[in-house]
Symmetry: C2
Subunit: 167 residues, 2 copies
């Protein structure tokens, strides 16, 4: 009896971005105390994990992979470098800022990885491994689909849509 059931958009609970947000919030809550305890922010931890997983990376790649804006990354680099966890690396292209984990950074990552895995395993146990795998696959596919989309709902040229969005 919400009084006006005429135009409900899609039911707040069934909105995809909101469902993604809430699911993320609920799972992140499990990891955050662990990350906090090591004096890292969530974003800093993402950067460290990406580097541990892929080796040295440049700023642009990290920005995309960690979903962090370049200006934020600059600050995060400074903070992690000041703690001796990462260091700048030589790059063929001198424009690129490539960073790598130091030994200390790798050690911190490895130290944190165990507890992180345990938390993950707890969630997977409760949720079910097959569902977890299915969910991950769907998330990756959704991301690819959404990234491949032009701008609005259709139009594979992606020009008129951005204009429409601007006003």
């Amino acid at each position: 009896m919400t009084e006006g059931s005429e135009r409900k958009l899609r039911g707040y609970e069934k909105s995809l971005p909101i469902a993604l947000l809430r699911a993320r919030e609920a799972t992140m809550r499990r990891f955050k105390p662990h990350v906090d305890a090591h004096g890292l922010t969530i974003q800093q931890w993402r950067v460290i994990r990406a580097l541990a997983d892929s080796g040295p990376l440049d700023s642009k790649t990290l920005a995309a992979r960690c979903v962090i804006m370049p200006p934020s990354l600059t600050r995060i680099f400074r903070a992690l470098e000041a703690r001796g966890l990462i260091r700048a690396e030589e790059a063929e292209d001198a424009r690129r800022h490539v960073v790598a984990l130091t030994g200390e950074g790798r050690a911190l990552h490895d130290r944190m990885a165990g507890a992180s895995e345990a938390i993950y395993a707890g969630i997977e146990d409760a949720f079910g491994a097959e569902k977890m795998a299915a969910l991950l696959a769907l998330l990756v596919e959704l991301r690819e689909v959404a990234e491949a989309m032009p701008e609005e709902g259709r139009a594979p040229d992606g020009k008129s849509a951005s204009e429409a969005a601007r006003r």
Copy 2:
């Protein structure tokens, strides 16, 4: 050839929180220009949608449903109230701050709903309706599972875990 494949945690790409974040980022990107164009922040739009969907709500409920911290909500209320989009409502319990959409707020919501649905439909078309439904169901279930979990990996009393997290 990342040089050290010994301890990979889980492969950055297969981390659930990161997959959720990236999927959300990719989909949000479709909606953001639309929300921007109406002078709302994403969080403000979440509040408006929740109110449009459920009728008047108190601060605590909105905080949980929109994943917004109470202090942020206070500020958002002020901003939306200043624009005449919401108003405070009487509550039996005088401690509660219940807000409702005004006519103007409802009108704005309805005006935005069309384009929002179109964007949504575009994503659903590209992704597939069954997958979308499956994904939503998994997300809701994951959230419920994660929320029901104690603190760390197990222990259904949720005490020792929070202590462990503190140090």
